[in-house]
Symmetry: C2
Subunit: 150 residues, 2 copies
DNA sequence: CTAGTTGCAAAGGATTTGCAACTGA
DNA sequence: TCAGTTGCAAATCCTTTGCAACTAG
């Protein structure tokens, strides 16, 4: 989904909740749509500050929470447990491989795994609303550490 | 694996790294083996304090990190993002369903999902060392929130 | 107008760290 | 003995919150 369309959806989302569209909220949504990478709260805060030096971290965190709630962004954890975000509206769900060497995050989607998750959940009469699958290891460019490096 | 066996392994692990077995480390390992539930750093700290009122949180955190490194414990995130631990040595790997209603954590294991993960990783020339699969939703005893409750 | 929003600064909560006193091997 | 360990308190890091001044609708 393009940024303009996402923005329209965000406006509807806010209207339905009797919340207001503000300059900061608009800027944060657009910045999130501008990157195809995963970003941290602090990174997007820096980008917001580039546009508006008076913006606060508080607003960034409040807006990120809204965007996650509305299904615009998804959050995930990087190798060190830090929260990262990515825009997902209009994108198909995917899972992540996190490289413990360089920190790079690879995305993948596997229909069979998705289907099996649904199956497992329903077997346990569990009403699944989301899931997170993270594979940790070393990407093609990074060697796993050897015994002696420990 | 029984507590006594785990303790022996912990001793070997420490010896190999030129670290020492201490009363606190022993107590923490045994307490971790005493529960079949997931526990937080603060919970095990409270249990340690029951035995030795002078023990410190710092030691608990340091020891938990050691136990995770040695493959004695695994860590996972609960519904609120808090880190929980569980003892895993000698237990087969499993994944988790986290109830957003009551916080309960259900365990499951699905061979097909495990196999597919391996397959996906190797397709991407990714050397997987561990993975975490978490399904979030509502367990059989908890109703999903309705629209109006939001 | 006025409920919702913001920036600020302070609070929060989990975890880590520096350090001097201890202790296991 | 002496490198490794501990408890303490302070420090960190990320995130949330109270509040008075703003602002969208």
């Amino acid at each position: 989904m393009r940024a303009a369309a996402a923005l329209k959806r965000f406006e509807s989302f806010l209207r339905e909740k009797n919340l207001r569209m503000t300059e900061q909220r608009k800027a944060i949504l657009l910045l999130a749509w501008d990157t195809h990478d995963h970003f941290s709260a602090d990174e997007i805060y820096a980008w917001v500050r580039d546009q508006d030096a008076s913006a606060s971290r508080a607003t960034v965190y409040r807006t990120l929470a809204l965007l996650v709630e509305g299904g615009f962004l998804a959050s995930l954890q990087d190798a060190r447990g830090m929260t990262l975000y990515e825009h997902i509206l209009g994108h198909s769900h995917h899972d992540h491989m996190v490289c413990l060497g360089c920190g790079k995050i690879l995305e993948f989607r596997n229909e069979a795994i998705e289907a099996l998750q649904e199956q497992v959940a329903s077997q346990h009469r569990f009403h699944m609303v989301r899931h997170e699958l993270r594979l940790e290891g070393y990407c093609a460019g990074c060697e796993p550490p050897t015994e002696t490096e420990v």
